[in-house]
Structure formats: C-alpha cells, structure tokens
C-alpha cells in the first residue's frame, strides 16, 4: 500500500534481486564526533547510518519532491496552515508500533530551544505546542503560517523519527530497514536485516558502514574487495576506473551546486550591473572541466537543476567578456579589484577560484584570492567579504529560497533582502495549486537569474564506486535523497 514510493529503486543493472550477503560500505567519517543520534547527524556517514536505522515521515525523490515514507498520506486544510498526516503501519525494531506520539516526541526533541539539532530550522514553520495527535496514527500539525510546501518539512534532513522518550543512542532502536548490532565511532558500524521492515525486508543479511576518511583509502579498499561500496570518489578516480571492469562507477548527477556568492548589499556588488558582468565573465565549461574534472554539468546561475520547479526555460547564460566590460564601464567599475574568499572545504573549490580569477583577468577585473580556514569557512563568508566560493547539497528549491534568500533567512550569504521577493515567496506558500506555484517559482527564479547574488556555474556529480557484484544502487539519486546511500534495495549478485 505504498503507491507513492518506488517499489524498488532503479538498479544499476538488472537481474533478479538475491537475498543474503554482507555488504561493506565505506564513507568518509568524522572520527570520535560521529554519532548514532539521528538528529545530530551531520556527516554523510551519519546520514547513511541514520537511514539504515530510522525513517522520516517523508523523503526526497530524485527531483526533490517529498515522497511519503512513514507518512502514508498528508492533507492540508484550505488555508494551508493545518496539515493532517496519517502514518502507515510500521513498527520499531523492538516491536512497538510507530505512533503519533513518537512523531510529536521526535519533532519536539529536534526543536528543543536549548539544543541545536540539525533539522531545527526546517521545522520552524510548525507550531508544535498546538500540534497534536488526533488518533494513534494521525497527527495534526498546526503551522505558524500557510505552507504549501509543508511535505518538504517532513522530508527535511535529519527529521528522523525515534521512539517516544528516547534520549540515549548507545543501542539505538528505529523503524528503519536494518537493526543495530554494533558501532565504534570513527571506525565501523554493523547492522542486520530488519525482517519486519514495512517497505519490505532488505536483501542483505548484514550491512557494515566503515570509515575511511581518505579518498584513496576508500578506492583501494574497493579495488581490493575489502569493501563493496565506496562513497564519494573523485572525478579523476572515476575516469581512471570507469572502464577497467574492476569497479562500477555510479554518477549521481546534480548532487552539488557549485558557484560563487556576491554580497548584493555592498560595493561593488550592490550595483546589479556588476553582478551581471560577473555572470558574464564565467566560462562555465572551463570551470566544470577544470574544477570538477569534467564530472558535472554547467549551471545557469540558478539553484536546483533537474529539481521540481526549476526554470528550464530561462536561456543558458554564456561567457561574454565584451558585454561584461561594457557593463562594468557603465557601472564605473573599470579596473575593478575584488577579493574572492575560498577555502579547501570541498574538492574543486580552490581550483574554481583560481580558474575564475584567470577568467576575470581577461575582462580587466583583478581578483585576489584569499584562502580561509576550512573549518569555519561557512560562518566566515556568511557576513564578511564580498565574493566567495559556495556550494550546496541537494534540497528542494523552496528550501533553498527559504533558508538563503528571504529577508529573514538565517544563512543568507548573498544578503538578498527584497520585500517583493519575500512577498512572492509568501504568495507561493499560500497557493494550493501546483501550476500557480510553478508560475511563482518561475518569477522568483527570473529575478534571481537577472540580478541575484548566486553565480551558479555548475552542478557536480556525486560519485560512488561499487564492486561489480553490487546491484540495485540507484543512479539518479542526488546526495541526501531517498535513494542515495540506500542499502535496503541493494543486493549482491
């Protein structure tokens, strides 16, 4: 009875699923900071473990639409500020059924004002004081304002459901496809099949999630058969081994937006002509080739390529140095000199800065690159500097806007604060029909495309390697979506 969720993810190669086997998957980790508390999960390894043990009410499909998971269905009222969510029949590993109380407990735990759980900001629209269980398996969520995209909240990163009252995670109990066996932070975690899983028991007998921080270690382990699945490989690794036959390379497209952010409220970028000139300076192909080693596609200064509501109709922007020069001249910014903040927070980041510097030089703009500390980079660029490297994982376009582009957004790195834009967003959230919302999304995106602060030059593939006997790995699942790092649908041939 789960019409909305795919019965089985599209496999990397066909064949009849086989039961049994023990799969070892290698992820980059965070050492002792790793945790099994799904609300704290921050790293990909944490997320993969959380996904094995727990469920969310909803999760994202490959186009970032929310797909029901523990929720069987959801229905809004007309004002879109009261949503009734009906749970499916599912049980935790200890046999207790998943109930409305568990949902409310989990959400209240996440939004605990004294704590700082990851999904706290995403759950902000929900008024949990007023929300209540209307039956053992129905929850009525009261929202602080109309929210047409409320399902996105249910699918938010880290909004996992834990049993009511849980506060310790040394022997975690969830409703997910695998049961907990053991865990050593920074090293390995072991899980076994949950035969009673509501979405059908996994094919695998057991799953190990092991940690190898270094990419080459993950690759070598994969090549030597120490692991069967290696998460996050580099584009050059992919190219080197794609046709070797020893490993299967899976490219998860559109996983990470790559770009630069310009502070739209400070010189020189407070002048839209300068921002446009910068849009035109970027040679996106060169950036993708050089910084992503070709593993990605070009961007069009908009977030969410391939996602629901993405404005595909807006023509692709190309490098035009003459126009860029003209615009700069018009803005009185000839011989412009700006500082570009960057930091080795992700592969390709610093390279992109270097490439862009060279491109800008051809338009008469001098860019000084300042390499910041990678551990505090995101905080540092939020309010200081004028131009900085940026990247973002997958999330619905709505989430991108609400978190980064509204006057009250907490991580508004472009300082994009427009009353008219905010109004469009509110209007969109209050619009019930999809077509109407779609039109509003397009208007917002057009505005961002012409004068926004995000210079999005590309979308990086997320590269996963598996041993050839691993089947059922989803190929079109950007990182953090439902089918990414999903091991209940995987089997060993």
């Amino acid at each position: 009875g789960c019409s909305n969720s795919p019965a089985s993810a599209p496999g990397s190669s066909g064949g009849q699923p086989k039961r049994g086997g023990h799969l070892r998957a290698a992820f980059a980790g965070g050492g002792a900071a790793e945790t099994l508390d799904p609300h704290l999960s921050n790293l990909f390894a944490d997320a993969a473990r959380a996904k094995a043990l727990y469920d969310k009410l909803a999760d994202y499909g490959s186009d970032m639409t929310a797909r029901p998971r523990l929720a069987e269905r959801w229905e809004p009222n007309d004002a879109l500020d009261r949503w009734t969510v009906t749970l499916r029949e599912a049980e935790f590993h200890d046999g207790r059924p998943v109930s409305a109380a568990d949902i409310l407990y989990s959400y209240r735990r996440i939004t605990d004002p004294k704590k700082a759980y990851r999904a706290k900001a995403s759950l902000e629209p929900v008024d949990l004081e007023a929300s209540r269980a209307t039956g053992p398996r129905t929850v009525e969520f009261r929202l602080k304002r109309p929210t047409a995209e409320f399902p996105n909240v249910l699918a938010a990163f880290g909004a996992y459901i834990v049993p009511d009252g849980t506060d310790r995670f040394d022997k975690p109990v969830g409703s997910g496809p695998f049961r907990f066996v053991s865990f050593t932070p920074g090293r390995s975690a072991r899980f076994t099949r949950n035969d009673a899983y509501w979405d059908g028991a996994p094919h695998l007998d057991a799953l190990d999630i092991v940690v190898a921080d270094e990419e080459s270690a993950r690759l070598n382990a994969l090549l030597a058969g120490q692991v069967d699945y290696a998460h996050e490989l580099s584009p050059s690794t992919a190219r080197a081994h794609e046709h070797g036959g020893r490993v299967t390379i899976v490219r998860l497209r559109n996983s990470a937006m790559q770009g630069f952010v310009m502070k739209t409220d400070r010189p020189p970028f407070d002048d839209p002509r300068v921002r446009q000139a910068f849009f035109l300076i970027a040679d996106r192909e060169e950036l993708v080739k050089g910084a992503l080693s070709g593993a990605g596609t070009v961007g069009n200064d908009l977030f969410g390529k391939g996602y629901e509501y993405y404005a595909d109709d807006i023509p692709q922007r190309r490098q035009d140095l003459d126009r860029a020069r003209t615009l700069l001249k018009a803005a009185g910014a000839e011989g412009l000199r700006v500082t570009l903040d960057t930091s080795p927070v992700a592969p390709g980041f610093v390279e992109a800065a270097g490439i862009f510097r060279d491109q800008a030089a051809r338009a008469g703009v001098t860019i000084d690159i300042r390499t910041g500390n990678k551990d505090s980079y995101w905080k540092d660029i939020l309010d200081s500097g004028t131009l900085a490297g940026y990247r973002s994982g997958a999330m619905p376009i709505e989430a991108h806007i609400s978190q980064r582009l509204l006057s009250g957004s907490t991580t508004n790195a472009t300082h994009w604060r427009r009353k008219d834009f905010d109004a469009l967003y509110q209007q969109m959230q209050s619009t019930k029909d999809t077509a109407g919302r779609s039109a509003l999304y397009e208007r917002m995106q057009r505005q961002l495309h012409t004068e926004g602060g995000f210079l999005v030059w590309g979308f990086a593939d997320w590269i996963v390697g598996t041993s050839p006997r691993v089947r059922g790995v989803a190929t079109d699942a950007p990182a953090n979506t439902l089918d990414w790092a999903r091991f209940d649908t995987v089997w060993l041939a």
Binding site: A32, K115, A116, V211, S216, A217, D375
Partner: protein, 316 residues
C-alpha cells in the same frame, strides 16, 4: 654515577612544567584558530541562532582561562573532560585511539632499530665504497619520498597489482587480530626513519671506526664485528639515540598521513578531527599525552647520551 638519580628526578619535574607549557601552547594556538566548536559543529549550516545555542550548550561563552582552570582541576582528579564534538569522555576517546597507534609505533620501532643500525653499520663498513654509495643513495632516495607517495606506490604494487596484502585497515577493529593489514602501514612508517637513522649511524660509525681507539682495538686482536658493534657503535649512537627519540615521538603523535592512507583510526586521526572540530578538551588531552611522551623520550635519549659520552658530564 650516584648523581644519575637526582638528575632524572629533576628532569622529570621540569618535564611536568614542560608538559604544562605544551598544553598551554597548543591550547592558545587552537583558541587562536578562527571559529570555535560551535561554528565547526554548525558546518555548512551556520545559522547564527543555532551557533549561539550550541555555544551556550557547550559553555563556550565562558572565557578560556576559566575553561582551562576547570579542565586542570578535573585533571587533578584524573578527569580529562568531555569532548565537545561527541560529548564522550576524552579519556575513553584517547584510550580507544591509542592501541592502533601504539601497535604501529611499537612494531615500527622494533624493526627500525636493528634495520637502521644495521644499514648504517653496513654502509660505514667501507665508507666511500661502492656498497656505501649504493646504500646511501638508495636511502636518500627513499627518505625524500613523502609517506603519501610511498604509500600510494606500495599499495599499488603490493595490494592492487600483486594482491598480496590488504590495502587498508578499513573496518578492522583490532589490528593485531588481522596482522596482514599492518604490513603496509609499518613498511611506509619504517621507510624514512630507517634511512635517516641509517645515515646518522653511518656518519657516526665512519668517525668512530677511524678513531685511534678503534684501530687499537683491532690491533688487540678483537674480531671486526666486536670492534664494530661493541666499541665503535656506542660512540656513534648518541645522535642516533636523539633521532630515535624524535622518531618514536613522531610515530606516536604524527602519523596522521599513514593513518589516513590506510584508514587506521589512531591518535593522528583523532588529532586532525579534533582540531577541525575545535574540540578543545580533546586537543588538550592529546597535547598532554604528547607532552608527556616527549618528556619521557627526551629523557631517555639524554640518559643514553649521558651513558655513551661519559666524559661529558655537562650532559647531566
């Protein structure tokens, strides 16, 4: 020689002061890093409110010296504090990361001493000769190769091309239970110190073997091996002992690269992660550990030097 004991005692006392200095230095540097544990925990979602909340929850809003004092007070009760990033006790965390590092270090040193000394003695056997040149050049070559390059090469050949050995220790919780995974890391760890130790020993040996007292020992009919090992070697060892102490220190604290390459979750990994997470209690705990190790090792090396150059009373 009766003054040996007070000397050690005094050195241990200054050692404690030194360790305190190390802790403070490391703390000051870590504190000077941009951002704090809250910022690091927030990562790419640096919501100011969230950061403020984390900061409050971790007591990061209190001044450093207060936190340091509290940590020191805890230390007196044998409590190293709790990790900011994971909320787990630091002592337990270090205790978990120590065995892999110790295993690697002990194994490496056990092989290093005979190999390095042997190489040096062999090369010094005929200083300037063909064997010496070959050995020296090879040693220099290997010494100049950083671990990450050597690691890649050895892994490519021994683990991937001729699949003789497992390339990483990924997912292995007890290294000693799967000794095969230790071979590559130990080889890589060994490579550089063997070469540097060998060169120092060679230099010392060449001088010692040319000294008149070596000539006299040979003249007295002592077999060449005895002259080499019992007479010349001790005189060549003082700098080598210093170097060895440094190497052990490095093995215990600085094998970040090898741990990363072979996915061995030891102290180096903890260190890098702790710095990245601005996890001060862990960094302090590590600094304490490093400081104490260094004090003990330096003391050992000085004691050896004291014994090997008895004429030099100044060493005490």
């Amino acid at each position: 020689m009766t003054s040996f004991r007070p000397w050690i005692l005094r050195r241990l006392l200054t050692g404690l002061a030194q360790t305190a200095a190390v802790v403070v230095l490391v703390l000051a540097l870590t504190e000077a890093l941009p951002g704090d544990a809250a910022v690091a925990l927030a990562g790419d979602d640096p919501d100011p409110a969230r950061i403020a909340a984390i900061r409050q929850a971790l007591h990061l809003d209190r001044p450093v010296h207060e936190r340091l004092a509290q940590w020191a007070a805890g230390l007196l009760h044998g409590d190293l504090g709790t990790s900011l990033a994971s909320g787990r006790p630091v002592a337990g965390l270090l205790a978990e990361a120590f065995p892999p590092t110790l295993t690697l270090a002990v194994l490496t040193v056990t092989l290093l001493v005979p190999a390095g000394v042997g190489l040096g003695v062999l090369a010094a056997h005929r200083a300037g000769g063909l064997l010496d040149r070959l050995l020296s050049t090879a040693a220099l070559g290997v010494y100049a190769v950083p671990e990450f390059v050597l690691g890649v090469l050895l892994t490519a050949v021994l683990a991937l091309w001729l699949p003789l050995l497992p390339p990483t220790a990924v997912g292995v919780d007890n290294l000693l239970a799967r000794p095969a995974v230790l071979v590559l890391p130990v080889l890589v760890l060994l490579a550089r110190p063997v070469c540097s130790l060998g060169r120092l020993v060679r230099a010392g040996m060449a001088d010692a073997l040319a000294a008149p007292w070596s000539v006299h020992a040979r003249r007295c009919g002592l077999p060449p091996a005895r002259v080499r090992f019992a007479h010349a070697l001790p005189n060549a060892l003082a700098p080598a002992a210093q170097h060895l102490a440094r190497t052990v220190d490095w093995l215990l604290c600085g094998v970040v690269v090898v741990e990363a390459l072979f996915a061995v979750p030891g102290l180096g990994t903890v260190l890098v992660n702790a710095v990245a997470a601005r996890d001060l209690p862990v960094v302090q705990g590590l600094a304490l550990l490093f400081g104490l190790t260094a004090v003990v090792l330096n003391l050992g090396a000085d004691a050896v030097a004291y014994r090997l150059a008895p004429r030099a009373e100044a060493a005490a």
